[in-house]
Subunit: 455 residues, 2 copies
């Protein structure tokens, strides 16, 4: 029985195991979930020991721990692969609009609905199951394998850079594989070769010392909810460009060649509409939709809260207002420099009638992967074997904070974003799902990739 045949036989068992993993609410941003975070790490470590890795450890960081595992039986002359993923997930509660409990997986129409089913438990677990298939029945794969599965990706991987720097020898590899991205179309395999950086911050506007009666003080006390709205409104020009002075200065423009190549594989407006549910689009003038997502920086409002927003009415003039915002960054923007620009601009437009604060919450660098490495060629063949079709190459809009750290700390090793998600999975939103066929095709493709790498 080949590894691919084994994976096929085990389909049901693999899916059941994934269901157990997504049942653990490992929400890294929630301080009340520390126990669940550890439980998820331990669950993964136990599975990795069971499938035959020779060394599996839960390794501490200043935050949530890393699960490390390795099998080095291919010998010192064989290539070594570092497989990266994360076991933490975004927050989720039923009230956000889920049709079923986010941590109680439900199968429906060929999809598995649960928080983390796609991002990233389903994808990293596909890698674990590929390695299980390669190791089963005493087989010896032709490549050495190392797993680095972290627990802080969804909060910007604040401690993984230090972890990688501290364990450079342990993590030494010839190629890095990351399964944490998505394709647009399940029938057209694609490889994402660029991710955007992130600068997540919050803006707080404080006015009166406490909430006031809107009749007694409205019209003379500057309303913090109004001020924060005016400040947020000032962040974009009518043409969709970000108004922060200097924001675009460091942006590397796409070359004419890359623009042309990307245009060939770009999703249509109809594709974008189908996955987002909007009737029309918005954004920076002068760029196509896929360019705005993959190659241009953005500034988003992730949330706002102020005053009273329950049922009925409360005639209050709120004492303060809070907004969560974030920028997606592209080469060669520096997250910290962008934060300083945004902060300086916001403070410059804050009226003297209020006190405004801008606080940095998370930062990550953008990354672009080499399309011409031998690992990328192996991946191309693996996708063709797994899907029966050559992959296309795309730029992603999301952020993988660790990529830039890997490139800098691990000798600029080639990275392959072997994403097995779909952009319609609803990652980060309610009713996140994972197409079960993508899970199995992902396992097969990973098996092929490790076979191709050794050739």
């Amino acid at each position: 029985m080949t590894a691919l045949q084994y994976a096929d036989v085990q389909r049901g068992a693999f899916l059941d195991q994934l269901k157990d993993l997504v049942r653990i609410p490992s929400i890294s941003t929630d301080p009340t979930r520390t126990g669940d975070m550890l439980r998820a790490a331990e669950w993964l470590a136990a599975d990795m020991r069971r499938i035959g890795l020779s060394r599996v450890e839960i390794m501490p960081t200043a935050g949530h721990p890393v699960v490390y595992g390795e099998w080095l039986g291919a010998g010192a002359n064989a290539p070594t692969v570092l497989i990266y993923g994360h076991y933490d997930v975004q927050p989720a509660v039923l009230a956000d609009g889920w049709h079923s409990e986010p941590f109680d997986p439900v199968e429906r129409d060929g999809k598995l609905y649960a928080r983390g089913s796609s991002d990233d438990k389903g994808q990293v677990f596909a890698q674990v199951k590929a390695v299980e298939s390669l190791l089963t029945e005493g087989r010896k794969p032709a490549v050495n394998l190392k797993f680095l599965i972290e627990g802080e990706e969804e909060i910007g991987s604040p401690n993984l850079g230090a972890f990688v720097a501290q364990h450079r020898d342990l993590l030494k590899a010839d190629v890095c594989v990351v399964s944490d991205t998505g394709m647009k179309d399940m029938n057209q395999p694609s490889i994402c070769y660029a991710t955007r950086g992130l600068m997540y911050f919050e803006l707080e506007v404080v006015g009166p010392s406490q909430d006031l009666h809107s009749g007694g003080f409205g019209g003379i006390v500057h309303n913090p909810a109004q001020v924060i709205a005016e400040m947020i409104a000032a962040l974009h020009a009518p043409d969709g460009r970000i108004t922060v002075p200097g924001f675009y200065d460091a942006v590397a423009e796409l070359s004419a060649t890359e623009r042309e190549t990307l245009r060939h594989s770009a999703p249509t407006e109809a594709d974008w509409k189908a996955v987002s549910g909007v009737s029309g689009f918005w954004g920076e003038a002068g760029y196509e939709l896929h360019e705005r997502v993959g190659a241009r920086p953005t500034l988003e409002v992730n949330g706002i809260v102020s005053g009273f927003y329950g049922a009925g009415s409360k005639t209050v003039l709120p004492a303060k207002a809070l907004a969560k915002l974030s920028c997606r960054l592209v080469p060669n923007q520096e997250p910290r420099a962008i934060f300083e620009q945004v902060k300086a601009y916001l403070l410059s437009i804050a009226p003297p009638t209020v006190h405004a604060e801008v606080r940095l919450i998370a930062e990550a660098y953008p990354a672009v992967m080499d399309l011409h490495s031998s690992a990328m060629q192996a991946a191309t063949v693996a996708y063709e074997r797994g899907w029966g079709r050559k992959p296309i190459f795309e730029r992603g809009g999301g952020t993988l904070p660790i990529l830039a750290d890997f490139q800098r700390q691990l000798n600029n090793l080639p990275i392959i974003l072997m994403g097995f998600g779909l952009s319609s999975d609803g990652a980060h939103g309610p009713n996140e799902s994972y197409t079960i066929e993508m899970f199995h095709k992902g396992i097969a493709t990973a098996i092929c990739f490790y076979e191709e790498l050794a050739k």
Copy 2:
């Protein structure tokens, strides 16, 4: 023992009774508090029976009931006073910033801290205690007395207009007294002779069919939180004026005489700063602070909510955003006409990339009282007796929805706003308090007023 002497002897007992009343969380806007609403009405009715009113009834409306009470022993030739107040309160929870439980009254530095201690339980109860003092020991006041204490003032009195129209004979009176307003300074009695109207509405902006990943869709999907900020920002011009077309068309400007009179008794900037806690003011150009509050219409953001606003970060592009807003109106603005103007304007500026809805939540008319009625003269003398100082006359910024209904349904009877609150009481905000001396001075002044009215 005179009525005033009786009230003095009973100080401690009256305050203890008020504490019992404010312990009942009668939050009219909260559907889970219906039982507490009824409990507050029954508590008041029981006290009104105990003090000797000849008829006390809890009368139904389409919403929360009205507590009605009367004593008509002065005879058909004596003047009849209709005393209005409300037993419902604004929402309050400890987490809003209260230093102690909002429904567990605490005495500190001569003040009673509790939701409703000032607005309006403390004030309406001062009227009940004044009447108790006038009726005690078998005494017969020289005026007939009717109480109308409603339970929906804080939600815009949606059913009281119909109640008054339906019970015009029962409520027939020569003068109406309302204790539900505040003075700026406890040592300078003041009579409020104008209230503003209200038009409370909500704006909802809906974008994608569900929350999206801000990396995958940010920059092409119009962010509803950004859109609502831009729409709110468009409601005011840089000079503080409201931009809604036609908004000021019906506004009655202050006469030069009234402006001059008001200027003499106006609070200083320092007074306003002390009660609001802000370092500087904002508002409509061309008007002084007390004019902006008392004689000009405003538009306030009472609250906003969208997306993620917890601790940490969530890189979500929210599917929708909601804002609660309200206008304070002045003669001769019509609440419904203003709603239509605001709605039309907001829908006209809503971008086609989102779906925007504007919904009316509450409405009330402004009211101005006759400064020259004989009742106003009796009130002037009563305040002078209670405080040892002539009252000044002011315009209030708040809203008493019922005033316009009283004027229209009850033969345009004179209304006296006998407010015993202070503008520093923190009505509607956290740590609402009532200065205990104001409670007792209020009782004394009400006693004097009923004595003066009969002269």
